[in-house]
Protein backbone atom coordinates (compact mmCIF):
# COMPACT_ATOMS: atom_id res chain seq x y z
CA UNK A 1 0.00 0.00 0.00
CA UNK A 2 2.76 2.40 1.01
CA UNK A 3 4.77 1.65 -2.13
CA UNK A 4 1.89 2.22 -4.55
CA UNK A 5 0.96 5.35 -2.61
CA UNK A 6 4.46 6.71 -3.05
CA UNK A 7 4.38 5.86 -6.74
CA UNK A 8 1.11 7.60 -7.43
CA UNK A 9 2.33 10.59 -5.39
CA UNK A 10 5.56 10.77 -7.35
CA UNK A 11 4.23 10.10 -10.86
CA UNK A 12 2.31 13.33 -11.58
CA UNK A 13 5.28 15.64 -11.05
CA UNK A 14 7.52 14.50 -13.92
CA UNK A 15 4.51 14.30 -16.24
CA UNK A 16 3.62 17.86 -15.44
CA UNK A 17 7.19 18.94 -16.01
CA UNK A 18 7.29 17.10 -19.30
CA UNK A 19 3.99 18.62 -20.39
CA UNK A 20 5.22 22.09 -19.53
CA UNK A 21 8.39 21.48 -21.50
CA UNK A 22 6.39 20.26 -24.51
CA UNK A 23 4.07 23.25 -24.37
CA UNK A 24 7.13 25.49 -24.37
CA UNK A 25 8.57 23.62 -27.36
CA UNK A 26 5.29 23.95 -29.26
CA UNK A 27 5.38 27.67 -28.58
CA UNK A 28 8.96 27.91 -29.88
CA UNK A 29 8.14 25.95 -33.04
CA UNK A 30 5.27 28.29 -33.79
CA UNK A 31 7.48 31.28 -33.10
CA UNK A 32 10.18 29.93 -35.44
CA UNK A 33 7.66 29.23 -38.22
CA UNK A 34 6.18 32.71 -37.94
CA UNK A 35 9.60 34.33 -37.76
CA UNK A 36 10.91 32.37 -40.77
CA UNK A 37 7.81 33.28 -42.76
CA UNK A 38 8.15 36.98 -41.93
CA UNK A 39 11.89 36.95 -42.66
CA UNK A 40 11.55 35.23 -46.06
CA UNK A 41 8.65 37.46 -46.97
CA UNK A 42 10.44 40.68 -46.07
CA UNK A 43 13.61 39.48 -47.80
CA UNK A 44 11.69 38.75 -51.02
CA UNK A 45 9.84 42.00 -50.79
CA UNK A 46 12.91 44.17 -50.17
CA UNK A 47 15.35 42.39 -52.46
CA UNK A 48 12.88 42.28 -55.35
CA UNK A 49 14.45 39.09 -56.64
CA UNK A 50 11.25 37.10 -57.06
CA UNK A 51 7.68 38.30 -57.46
CA UNK A 52 8.67 41.93 -57.23
CA UNK A 53 5.62 44.19 -56.74
CA UNK A 54 3.50 41.20 -55.81
CA UNK A 55 5.02 40.62 -52.39
CA UNK A 56 4.70 43.96 -50.67
CA UNK A 57 6.47 44.76 -47.44
CA UNK A 58 4.54 43.64 -44.35
CA UNK A 59 4.71 47.23 -43.16
CA UNK A 60 2.77 48.40 -46.19
CA UNK A 61 0.21 45.61 -45.67
CA UNK A 62 -0.23 46.72 -42.07
CA UNK A 63 -0.68 50.30 -43.21
CA UNK A 64 -3.25 49.18 -45.79
CA UNK A 65 -5.03 47.19 -43.10
CA UNK A 66 -5.25 50.26 -40.91
CA UNK A 67 -6.51 52.40 -43.82
CA UNK A 68 -9.19 49.82 -44.54
CA UNK A 69 -10.38 49.69 -40.95
CA UNK A 70 -10.90 53.48 -40.82
CA UNK A 71 -12.55 53.53 -44.25
CA UNK A 72 -16.36 53.79 -43.94
CA UNK A 73 -16.76 52.19 -47.40
CA UNK A 74 -15.17 49.02 -46.00
CA UNK A 75 -17.68 48.84 -43.16
CA UNK A 76 -20.59 49.46 -45.54
CA UNK A 77 -19.41 46.64 -47.80
CA UNK A 78 -18.82 44.34 -44.83
CA UNK A 79 -22.37 44.99 -43.70
CA UNK A 80 -23.75 44.07 -47.14
CA UNK A 81 -21.79 40.81 -47.26
CA UNK A 82 -22.73 39.80 -43.73
CA UNK A 83 -26.37 40.65 -44.42
CA UNK A 84 -26.35 38.48 -47.55
CA UNK A 85 -24.62 35.60 -45.79
CA UNK A 86 -26.95 35.80 -42.77
CA UNK A 87 -30.08 35.90 -44.94
CA UNK A 88 -28.73 33.02 -47.04
CA UNK A 89 -27.94 30.98 -43.93
CA UNK A 90 -31.40 31.58 -42.41
CA UNK A 91 -33.22 30.52 -45.59
CA UNK A 92 -30.86 27.62 -46.24
CA UNK A 93 -31.06 26.40 -42.63
CA UNK A 94 -34.84 26.60 -42.49
CA UNK A 95 -35.30 24.77 -45.79
CA UNK A 96 -32.50 22.34 -44.91
CA UNK A 97 -33.96 21.39 -41.52
CA UNK A 98 -37.46 20.90 -42.96
CA UNK A 99 -36.27 18.81 -45.93
CA UNK A 100 -33.74 16.99 -43.73
CA UNK A 101 -36.46 15.97 -41.25
CA UNK A 102 -38.66 14.72 -44.11
CA UNK A 103 -35.81 12.69 -45.61
CA UNK A 104 -34.71 11.40 -42.22
CA UNK A 105 -38.18 10.50 -40.97
CA UNK A 106 -39.42 8.72 -44.09
CA UNK A 107 -37.21 5.89 -45.20
CA UNK A 108 -38.59 5.82 -48.74
CA UNK A 109 -38.20 9.56 -49.33
CA UNK A 110 -34.65 9.32 -47.99
CA UNK A 111 -33.77 6.44 -50.30
CA UNK A 112 -35.40 8.16 -53.28
CA UNK A 113 -33.91 11.65 -53.01
CA UNK A 114 -30.97 11.69 -50.62
CA UNK A 115 -28.44 10.06 -53.00
CA UNK A 116 -29.14 12.81 -55.54
CA UNK A 117 -28.72 15.53 -52.90
CA UNK A 118 -25.60 13.82 -51.58
CA UNK A 119 -23.80 13.71 -54.91
CA UNK A 120 -25.10 17.12 -55.96
CA UNK A 121 -23.92 18.83 -52.76
CA UNK A 122 -20.16 18.94 -53.45
CA UNK A 123 -20.51 20.24 -57.04
CA UNK A 124 -19.25 23.82 -57.43
CA UNK A 125 -22.30 25.93 -56.56
CA UNK A 126 -20.89 29.11 -58.07
CA UNK A 127 -21.67 27.84 -61.57
CA UNK A 128 -25.38 28.20 -60.76
CA UNK A 129 -24.84 31.94 -60.44
CA UNK A 130 -25.92 32.72 -64.05
CA UNK A 131 -29.26 31.04 -63.36
CA UNK A 132 -29.66 32.91 -60.08
CA UNK A 133 -29.01 36.18 -61.93
CA UNK A 134 -31.69 35.30 -64.49
CA UNK A 135 -34.18 34.52 -61.75
CA UNK A 136 -33.37 37.10 -59.09
CA UNK A 137 -31.54 39.91 -60.91
CA UNK A 138 -28.07 41.33 -60.36
CA UNK A 139 -28.72 42.74 -56.87
CA UNK A 140 -28.48 41.21 -53.40
CA UNK A 141 -31.26 38.68 -54.03
CA UNK A 142 -29.25 36.54 -56.47
CA UNK A 143 -26.33 36.30 -54.01
CA UNK A 144 -28.66 35.42 -51.14
CA UNK A 145 -30.34 32.76 -53.28
CA UNK A 146 -27.02 31.22 -54.26
CA UNK A 147 -25.75 31.32 -50.66
CA UNK A 148 -29.00 29.78 -49.43
CA UNK A 149 -28.63 26.97 -51.96
CA UNK A 150 -25.03 26.44 -50.84
CA UNK A 151 -25.92 26.17 -47.16
CA UNK A 152 -29.10 24.17 -47.78
CA UNK A 153 -27.29 20.99 -48.79
CA UNK A 154 -25.01 20.82 -45.78
CA UNK A 155 -27.89 21.42 -43.36
CA UNK A 156 -30.34 19.05 -45.11
CA UNK A 157 -27.88 16.17 -45.36
CA UNK A 158 -26.64 16.38 -41.79
CA UNK A 159 -30.17 16.85 -40.42
CA UNK A 160 -31.37 13.75 -42.28
CA UNK A 161 -28.37 11.74 -41.04
CA UNK A 162 -28.87 13.10 -37.51
CA UNK A 163 -32.53 12.15 -37.52
CA UNK A 164 -31.70 8.57 -38.48
CA UNK A 165 -28.95 8.36 -35.85
CA UNK A 166 -31.26 9.15 -32.94
CA UNK A 167 -31.04 6.33 -30.42
CA UNK A 168 -34.34 4.46 -30.78
CA UNK A 169 -34.58 3.77 -27.05
CA UNK A 170 -34.75 7.51 -26.35
CA UNK A 171 -37.83 7.77 -28.56
CA UNK A 172 -39.36 4.84 -26.65
CA UNK A 173 -38.64 6.60 -23.35
CA UNK A 174 -40.58 9.62 -24.59
CA UNK A 175 -43.47 7.42 -25.68
CA UNK A 176 -43.47 5.47 -22.41
CA UNK A 177 -43.95 8.73 -20.48
CA UNK A 178 -46.76 9.56 -22.92
CA UNK A 179 -45.21 12.74 -24.31
CA UNK A 180 -47.50 14.65 -26.70
CA UNK A 181 -46.36 14.99 -30.34
CA UNK A 182 -45.25 18.56 -29.61
CA UNK A 183 -43.29 17.41 -26.55
CA UNK A 184 -41.75 14.58 -28.60
CA UNK A 185 -40.58 17.14 -31.17
CA UNK A 186 -39.24 19.76 -28.76
CA UNK A 187 -37.96 17.59 -25.92
CA UNK A 188 -36.83 14.42 -27.74
CA UNK A 189 -36.23 14.78 -31.48
CA UNK A 190 -34.74 18.27 -31.67
CA UNK A 191 -32.37 17.98 -28.69
CA UNK A 192 -31.30 14.51 -29.83
CA UNK A 193 -30.41 15.93 -33.26
CA UNK A 194 -28.81 19.14 -32.05
CA UNK A 195 -25.20 18.20 -32.74
CA UNK A 196 -25.56 17.07 -36.38
CA UNK A 197 -27.85 20.03 -37.09
CA UNK A 198 -25.32 22.46 -35.58
CA UNK A 199 -22.54 20.81 -37.58
CA UNK A 200 -24.65 21.26 -40.71
CA UNK A 201 -25.23 24.93 -39.87
CA UNK A 202 -21.51 25.44 -39.31
CA UNK A 203 -20.65 23.91 -42.69
CA UNK A 204 -23.58 25.80 -44.23
CA UNK A 205 -22.33 29.14 -42.92
CA UNK A 206 -18.89 28.52 -44.42
CA UNK A 207 -20.49 27.56 -47.75
CA UNK A 208 -22.85 30.54 -47.72
CA UNK A 209 -20.07 33.01 -46.91
CA UNK A 210 -17.62 31.85 -49.58
CA UNK A 211 -20.38 31.52 -52.20
CA UNK A 212 -21.72 35.01 -51.50
CA UNK A 213 -18.20 36.48 -51.65
CA UNK A 214 -17.36 34.73 -54.91
CA UNK A 215 -20.66 35.80 -56.48
CA UNK A 216 -19.85 39.37 -55.44
CA UNK A 217 -16.47 39.24 -57.18
CA UNK A 218 -18.24 37.99 -60.33
CA UNK A 219 -21.01 40.52 -60.64
CA UNK A 220 -21.90 43.10 -58.05
CA UNK A 221 -21.53 46.73 -57.07
CA UNK A 222 -21.28 46.28 -53.33
CA UNK A 223 -19.97 43.84 -50.71
CA UNK A 224 -16.50 42.67 -49.77
CA UNK A 225 -16.25 40.44 -52.85
CA UNK A 226 -16.90 43.46 -55.05
CA UNK A 227 -14.23 45.32 -53.06
CA UNK A 228 -11.72 42.52 -53.70
CA UNK A 229 -12.39 42.84 -57.40
CA UNK A 230 -12.06 46.64 -57.57
CA UNK A 231 -8.87 46.60 -55.51
CA UNK A 232 -7.48 43.92 -57.82
CA UNK A 233 -8.32 46.02 -60.86
CA UNK A 234 -6.58 49.02 -59.28
CA UNK A 235 -3.63 46.67 -58.72
CA UNK A 236 -3.45 47.86 -55.10
CA UNK A 237 -1.67 44.74 -53.89
CA UNK A 238 -1.08 45.67 -50.21
CA UNK A 239 -4.77 46.50 -49.77
CA UNK A 240 -5.74 43.26 -51.52
CA UNK A 241 -3.66 41.30 -48.98
CA UNK A 242 -5.10 43.33 -46.13
CA UNK A 243 -8.69 42.75 -47.26
CA UNK A 244 -8.15 39.02 -47.78
CA UNK A 245 -6.61 38.75 -44.31
CA UNK A 246 -9.70 40.41 -42.85
CA UNK A 247 -12.04 38.09 -44.76
CA UNK A 248 -10.09 35.03 -43.63
CA UNK A 249 -10.28 36.22 -40.04
CA UNK A 250 -14.05 36.78 -40.31
CA UNK A 251 -14.56 33.34 -41.82
CA UNK A 252 -12.35 31.78 -39.14
CA UNK A 253 -14.21 33.64 -36.38
CA UNK A 254 -17.64 32.53 -37.67
CA UNK A 255 -16.42 28.96 -37.82
CA UNK A 256 -14.91 29.16 -34.33
CA UNK A 257 -18.06 30.67 -32.80
CA UNK A 258 -20.31 27.95 -34.24
CA UNK A 259 -17.75 25.33 -33.30
CA UNK A 260 -17.83 26.64 -29.73
CA UNK A 261 -21.64 26.55 -29.67
CA UNK A 262 -21.58 22.96 -30.94
CA UNK A 263 -19.08 21.92 -28.26
CA UNK A 264 -21.13 23.63 -25.55
CA UNK A 265 -24.23 21.74 -26.72
CA UNK A 266 -22.49 18.42 -26.31
Amino acid sequence: MAATGALTMAAPVPRKVRERRETRQVFYVRLVVIFAFVAVWEFLSRSGWFFADIIPSLVSIAQALFRLLVNPAFWANLQVTLLEAAAALCIGTFAGVVIGILLGANRFLGAAFEPYLYYFSPTPRIILFPIMIMWFGVGLASKIALGALASFFAVALSTAAGMRQIDKVIIRVGRSFRATPWQMATKIYLPAMRIPVLTGIRLGLGNALITVLLAETKLSNQGLGYMVNTIYQRFDIPTLYALLIIVFIIAGACNAVLGYVARRAR
Partner: protein, 287 residues
Protein backbone atom coordinates in the same frame (compact mmCIF):
# COMPACT_ATOMS: atom_id res chain seq x y z
CA UNK B 1 -40.11 -28.36 -3.49
CA UNK B 2 -42.95 -27.32 -1.24
CA UNK B 3 -42.61 -23.70 -2.28
CA UNK B 4 -43.37 -24.43 -5.91
CA UNK B 5 -46.83 -24.15 -7.40
CA UNK B 6 -48.06 -24.94 -10.84
CA UNK B 7 -49.35 -22.06 -12.96
CA UNK B 8 -52.80 -20.91 -11.90
CA UNK B 9 -55.21 -18.94 -14.05
CA UNK B 10 -55.76 -15.51 -12.52
CA UNK B 11 -59.46 -15.98 -12.17
CA UNK B 12 -58.91 -19.07 -10.02
CA UNK B 13 -56.46 -17.30 -7.69
CA UNK B 14 -57.63 -17.51 -4.09
CA UNK B 15 -55.45 -14.60 -2.97
CA UNK B 16 -57.22 -11.92 -0.97
CA UNK B 17 -55.40 -9.02 -2.71
CA UNK B 18 -56.88 -8.08 -6.04
CA UNK B 19 -54.20 -8.21 -8.74
CA UNK B 20 -53.22 -4.79 -10.09
CA UNK B 21 -51.91 -6.20 -13.37
CA UNK B 22 -53.53 -9.10 -15.16
CA UNK B 23 -51.93 -10.81 -18.14
CA UNK B 24 -54.69 -12.94 -19.58
CA UNK B 25 -54.06 -15.37 -22.43
CA UNK B 26 -51.74 -12.98 -24.27
CA UNK B 27 -50.24 -14.00 -27.60
CA UNK B 28 -48.36 -12.22 -30.31
CA UNK B 29 -47.07 -13.35 -33.70
CA UNK B 30 -44.75 -11.58 -36.10
CA UNK B 31 -44.57 -11.89 -39.87
CA UNK B 32 -46.98 -12.99 -42.58
CA UNK B 33 -49.73 -15.50 -42.00
CA UNK B 34 -48.06 -18.61 -43.44
CA UNK B 35 -44.58 -17.88 -42.07
CA UNK B 36 -45.58 -16.30 -38.78
CA UNK B 37 -43.29 -16.62 -35.78
CA UNK B 38 -45.11 -16.89 -32.48
CA UNK B 39 -43.24 -14.81 -29.93
CA UNK B 40 -45.67 -15.00 -27.01
CA UNK B 41 -47.98 -18.00 -26.84
CA UNK B 42 -51.06 -17.69 -24.63
CA UNK B 43 -49.31 -16.39 -21.53
CA UNK B 44 -51.27 -15.75 -18.35
CA UNK B 45 -50.21 -14.56 -14.91
CA UNK B 46 -50.91 -11.65 -12.62
CA UNK B 47 -49.14 -9.26 -10.29
CA UNK B 48 -50.58 -8.21 -6.94
CA UNK B 49 -50.03 -4.85 -5.25
CA UNK B 50 -46.59 -4.52 -3.67
CA UNK B 51 -45.42 -7.77 -5.24
CA UNK B 52 -42.10 -8.25 -7.06
CA UNK B 53 -42.50 -10.64 -9.99
CA UNK B 54 -39.74 -11.68 -12.37
CA UNK B 55 -40.25 -13.17 -15.84
CA UNK B 56 -37.31 -15.37 -16.72
CA UNK B 57 -36.48 -17.32 -19.85
CA UNK B 58 -33.78 -17.97 -22.42
CA UNK B 59 -33.05 -15.48 -25.23
CA UNK B 60 -35.81 -15.74 -27.80
CA UNK B 61 -38.59 -16.67 -25.37
CA UNK B 62 -40.57 -13.52 -26.11
CA UNK B 63 -39.73 -11.74 -22.84
CA UNK B 64 -39.02 -8.46 -24.58
CA UNK B 65 -42.19 -8.76 -26.65
CA UNK B 66 -44.12 -9.21 -23.43
CA UNK B 67 -42.38 -6.17 -21.98
CA UNK B 68 -43.35 -4.10 -25.01
CA UNK B 69 -46.97 -5.29 -24.88
CA UNK B 70 -47.36 -4.45 -21.18
CA UNK B 71 -45.64 -1.11 -21.74
CA UNK B 72 -48.08 -0.33 -24.55
CA UNK B 73 -45.31 -0.13 -27.16
CA UNK B 74 -46.90 -2.78 -29.39
CA UNK B 75 -50.37 -1.76 -30.43
CA UNK B 76 -51.84 -5.07 -31.54
CA UNK B 77 -51.76 -8.32 -29.61
CA UNK B 78 -54.10 -11.13 -28.78
CA UNK B 79 -55.66 -11.67 -25.37
CA UNK B 80 -55.76 -8.99 -22.66
CA UNK B 81 -53.34 -7.07 -20.50
CA UNK B 82 -55.48 -5.28 -17.95
CA UNK B 83 -54.72 -2.72 -15.30
CA UNK B 84 -57.71 -2.19 -13.01
CA UNK B 85 -59.87 -3.85 -15.63
CA UNK B 86 -58.68 -1.47 -18.37
CA UNK B 87 -57.13 -3.13 -21.44
CA UNK B 88 -53.71 -1.81 -22.39
CA UNK B 89 -53.63 -0.39 -25.92
CA UNK B 90 -50.85 2.18 -25.65
CA UNK B 91 -48.51 3.55 -22.97
CA UNK B 92 -50.52 3.52 -19.72
CA UNK B 93 -49.96 6.15 -17.02
CA UNK B 94 -49.88 3.45 -14.34
CA UNK B 95 -46.89 1.69 -15.94
CA UNK B 96 -43.37 3.06 -15.62
CA UNK B 97 -40.82 1.47 -17.96
CA UNK B 98 -37.06 1.03 -17.47
CA UNK B 99 -35.30 -0.10 -20.64
CA UNK B 100 -32.47 -2.53 -21.12
CA UNK B 101 -30.43 -0.09 -23.22
CA UNK B 102 -28.78 2.95 -21.74
CA UNK B 103 -31.59 5.45 -22.11
CA UNK B 104 -30.67 8.65 -20.26
CA UNK B 105 -30.84 11.88 -22.25
CA UNK B 106 -27.21 12.89 -22.86
CA UNK B 107 -28.19 16.56 -23.19
CA UNK B 108 -29.82 16.75 -19.74
CA UNK B 109 -28.13 16.82 -16.37
CA UNK B 110 -28.99 14.08 -13.88
CA UNK B 111 -31.63 16.18 -12.16
CA UNK B 112 -33.19 17.27 -15.45
CA UNK B 113 -33.21 13.67 -16.61
CA UNK B 114 -34.99 12.55 -13.48
CA UNK B 115 -37.42 15.48 -13.54
CA UNK B 116 -38.34 14.80 -17.17
CA UNK B 117 -41.70 13.04 -16.61
CA UNK B 118 -42.79 15.85 -14.25
CA UNK B 119 -41.72 18.43 -16.83
CA UNK B 120 -44.00 16.75 -19.37
CA UNK B 121 -46.89 17.12 -16.93
CA UNK B 122 -46.13 20.80 -16.42
CA UNK B 123 -45.10 20.55 -12.77
CA UNK B 124 -43.44 23.80 -11.56
CA UNK B 125 -39.67 23.79 -11.62
CA UNK B 126 -39.00 24.04 -7.86
CA UNK B 127 -41.46 21.24 -7.08
CA UNK B 128 -40.18 18.90 -9.76
CA UNK B 129 -36.60 19.49 -8.63
CA UNK B 130 -37.58 18.70 -5.04
CA UNK B 131 -39.20 15.45 -6.07
CA UNK B 132 -36.38 14.59 -8.44
CA UNK B 133 -33.85 15.15 -5.64
CA UNK B 134 -35.79 12.79 -3.40
CA UNK B 135 -35.50 9.94 -5.91
CA UNK B 136 -31.91 10.77 -6.82
CA UNK B 137 -31.15 10.29 -3.13
CA UNK B 138 -33.13 7.07 -3.07
CA UNK B 139 -31.02 5.51 -5.84
CA UNK B 140 -27.90 6.76 -4.05
CA UNK B 141 -26.76 9.47 -6.43
CA UNK B 142 -26.86 12.51 -4.12
CA UNK B 143 -24.26 15.04 -5.15
CA UNK B 144 -24.44 14.06 -8.83
CA UNK B 145 -27.49 16.23 -9.65
CA UNK B 146 -25.59 18.61 -11.92
CA UNK B 147 -23.51 15.98 -13.70
CA UNK B 148 -24.24 14.85 -17.25
CA UNK B 149 -24.68 11.17 -18.18
CA UNK B 150 -21.36 11.15 -20.07
CA UNK B 151 -19.67 11.76 -16.69
CA UNK B 152 -21.31 8.73 -15.05
CA UNK B 153 -20.58 5.00 -15.07
CA UNK B 154 -22.96 2.50 -16.66
CA UNK B 155 -24.45 1.50 -13.31
CA UNK B 156 -25.01 5.12 -12.35
CA UNK B 157 -26.74 5.83 -15.65
CA UNK B 158 -29.11 2.91 -15.13
CA UNK B 159 -29.89 4.25 -11.65
CA UNK B 160 -30.72 7.63 -13.23
CA UNK B 161 -33.15 5.83 -15.56
CA UNK B 162 -34.74 4.04 -12.61
CA UNK B 163 -35.09 7.28 -10.64
CA UNK B 164 -36.59 8.94 -13.72
CA UNK B 165 -39.22 6.23 -13.93
CA UNK B 166 -39.91 6.20 -10.16
CA UNK B 167 -40.47 9.98 -10.10
CA UNK B 168 -43.48 9.50 -12.38
CA UNK B 169 -44.97 7.53 -9.50
CA UNK B 170 -46.00 4.45 -11.48
CA UNK B 171 -48.28 1.88 -9.88
CA UNK B 172 -46.30 -0.79 -11.70
CA UNK B 173 -42.58 -0.55 -12.31
CA UNK B 174 -41.76 -2.51 -15.46
CA UNK B 175 -38.08 -3.26 -16.06
CA UNK B 176 -36.49 -5.03 -19.04
CA UNK B 177 -33.10 -6.48 -18.03
CA UNK B 178 -32.01 -3.14 -16.57
CA UNK B 179 -28.66 -4.53 -15.41
CA UNK B 180 -27.85 -6.66 -18.47
CA UNK B 181 -24.90 -4.48 -19.46
CA UNK B 182 -23.35 -4.37 -15.97
CA UNK B 183 -20.79 -6.61 -14.31
CA UNK B 184 -21.85 -9.22 -11.74
CA UNK B 185 -20.73 -7.31 -8.63
CA UNK B 186 -22.41 -4.06 -9.64
CA UNK B 187 -25.48 -6.10 -10.46
CA UNK B 188 -25.67 -7.63 -6.96
CA UNK B 189 -25.21 -4.26 -5.29
CA UNK B 190 -27.82 -2.60 -7.51
CA UNK B 191 -30.08 -5.53 -6.66
CA UNK B 192 -29.78 -4.52 -3.00
CA UNK B 193 -30.74 -0.99 -3.95
CA UNK B 194 -33.77 -2.21 -5.88
CA UNK B 195 -34.92 -4.43 -2.99
CA UNK B 196 -34.52 -1.54 -0.58
CA UNK B 197 -36.50 0.85 -2.81
CA UNK B 198 -39.18 -1.70 -3.46
CA UNK B 199 -39.66 -2.29 0.24
CA UNK B 200 -39.60 1.41 1.05
CA UNK B 201 -42.16 2.36 -1.62
CA UNK B 202 -44.05 -0.94 -1.56
CA UNK B 203 -43.47 -0.69 -5.27
CA UNK B 204 -45.25 -3.24 -7.43
CA UNK B 205 -42.59 -4.43 -9.85
CA UNK B 206 -42.38 -6.66 -12.90
CA UNK B 207 -38.82 -7.53 -13.91
CA UNK B 208 -37.92 -9.14 -17.22
CA UNK B 209 -34.58 -10.92 -16.99
CA UNK B 210 -32.50 -13.85 -18.14
CA UNK B 211 -30.34 -13.76 -15.02
CA UNK B 212 -31.18 -16.51 -12.52
CA UNK B 213 -29.49 -15.11 -9.41
CA UNK B 214 -30.96 -11.68 -10.06
CA UNK B 215 -34.46 -13.13 -10.37
CA UNK B 216 -34.19 -15.20 -7.17
CA UNK B 217 -32.48 -12.40 -5.23
CA UNK B 218 -35.24 -9.88 -5.98
CA UNK B 219 -38.53 -11.68 -6.52
CA UNK B 220 -41.53 -12.92 -4.62
CA UNK B 221 -42.57 -14.99 -7.62
CA UNK B 222 -40.83 -16.07 -10.79
CA UNK B 223 -42.59 -16.78 -14.08
CA UNK B 224 -40.45 -19.27 -16.02
CA UNK B 225 -40.97 -19.11 -19.80
CA UNK B 226 -40.23 -21.66 -22.50
CA UNK B 227 -38.09 -21.13 -25.56
CA UNK B 228 -39.90 -20.11 -28.74
CA UNK B 229 -42.87 -20.03 -28.79
CA UNK B 230 -42.85 -18.36 -25.35
CA UNK B 231 -45.26 -20.07 -22.98
CA UNK B 232 -45.43 -20.06 -19.20
CA UNK B 233 -43.61 -23.19 -18.08
CA UNK B 234 -44.43 -22.66 -14.44
CA UNK B 235 -44.65 -20.04 -11.73
CA UNK B 236 -42.38 -20.45 -8.71
CA UNK B 237 -42.83 -18.79 -5.31
CA UNK B 238 -39.65 -17.52 -3.71
CA UNK B 239 -40.25 -17.64 0.01
CA UNK B 240 -36.95 -16.11 1.10
CA UNK B 241 -37.52 -13.82 4.09
CA UNK B 242 -37.84 -10.07 3.64
CA UNK B 243 -36.21 -7.60 4.20
CA UNK B 244 -33.56 -9.20 2.01
CA UNK B 245 -30.06 -8.17 1.11
CA UNK B 246 -27.56 -9.59 -1.34
CA UNK B 247 -26.23 -11.71 1.58
CA UNK B 248 -29.09 -14.06 0.77
CA UNK B 249 -27.06 -15.24 -2.24
CA UNK B 250 -24.95 -17.36 0.12
CA UNK B 251 -27.84 -19.13 1.86
CA UNK B 252 -28.88 -22.75 1.30
CA UNK B 253 -32.46 -21.77 0.50
CA UNK B 254 -31.21 -19.44 -2.21
CA UNK B 255 -29.13 -22.20 -3.76
CA UNK B 256 -32.10 -24.56 -3.70
CA UNK B 257 -34.32 -22.03 -5.51
CA UNK B 258 -31.67 -21.38 -8.14
CA UNK B 259 -31.10 -25.09 -8.73
CA UNK B 260 -34.81 -25.72 -8.87
CA UNK B 261 -35.47 -23.05 -11.50
CA UNK B 262 -32.35 -23.93 -13.49
CA UNK B 263 -33.80 -27.42 -13.71
CA UNK B 264 -36.67 -26.04 -15.76
CA UNK B 265 -34.65 -23.43 -17.56
CA UNK B 266 -31.81 -25.67 -18.71
CA UNK B 267 -34.00 -27.62 -21.11
CA UNK B 268 -35.35 -24.40 -22.67
CA UNK B 269 -31.95 -22.74 -22.91
CA UNK B 270 -30.38 -25.74 -24.62
CA UNK B 271 -33.29 -25.91 -27.06
CA UNK B 272 -32.64 -22.25 -27.88
CA UNK B 273 -28.95 -22.88 -28.30
CA UNK B 274 -29.50 -25.83 -30.65
CA UNK B 275 -31.92 -23.89 -32.79
CA UNK B 276 -29.62 -20.90 -33.17
CA UNK B 277 -26.78 -23.25 -34.12
CA UNK B 278 -29.01 -24.82 -36.78
CA UNK B 279 -29.76 -21.37 -38.15
CA UNK B 280 -26.05 -20.57 -38.26
CA UNK B 281 -25.32 -23.82 -40.10
CA UNK B 282 -28.13 -23.20 -42.57
CA UNK B 283 -26.76 -19.68 -43.16
CA UNK B 284 -23.30 -21.06 -43.83
CA UNK B 285 -24.63 -23.64 -46.27
CA UNK B 286 -26.38 -20.95 -48.23
CA UNK B 287 -23.13 -18.97 -48.20
Amino acid sequence: MGSVQTATRPGVSLDADKPVLIIDDVYKTFGDAEEAVTAVDHVSFDVKPGEFVAVIGPSGCGKSTLFNIIGGMLGEYGGDVRIDGERIAGPHPAVGMVFQEESTFPWRSVIDNVAFPLELRGVAKSERYDRARHFIGMVGLDGFEKRYPSQLSGGMKQRVSIARTLVSNPRILLMDEPFAALDEQTRLLLGDKITQIQQELKQTTLLITHNLTEAVQLSDRIVVMTYRPGKVKRIADIDLARPRTSDVVGSDAFGRHVADIWNDLREEASRGMQESEQVARADRRRG
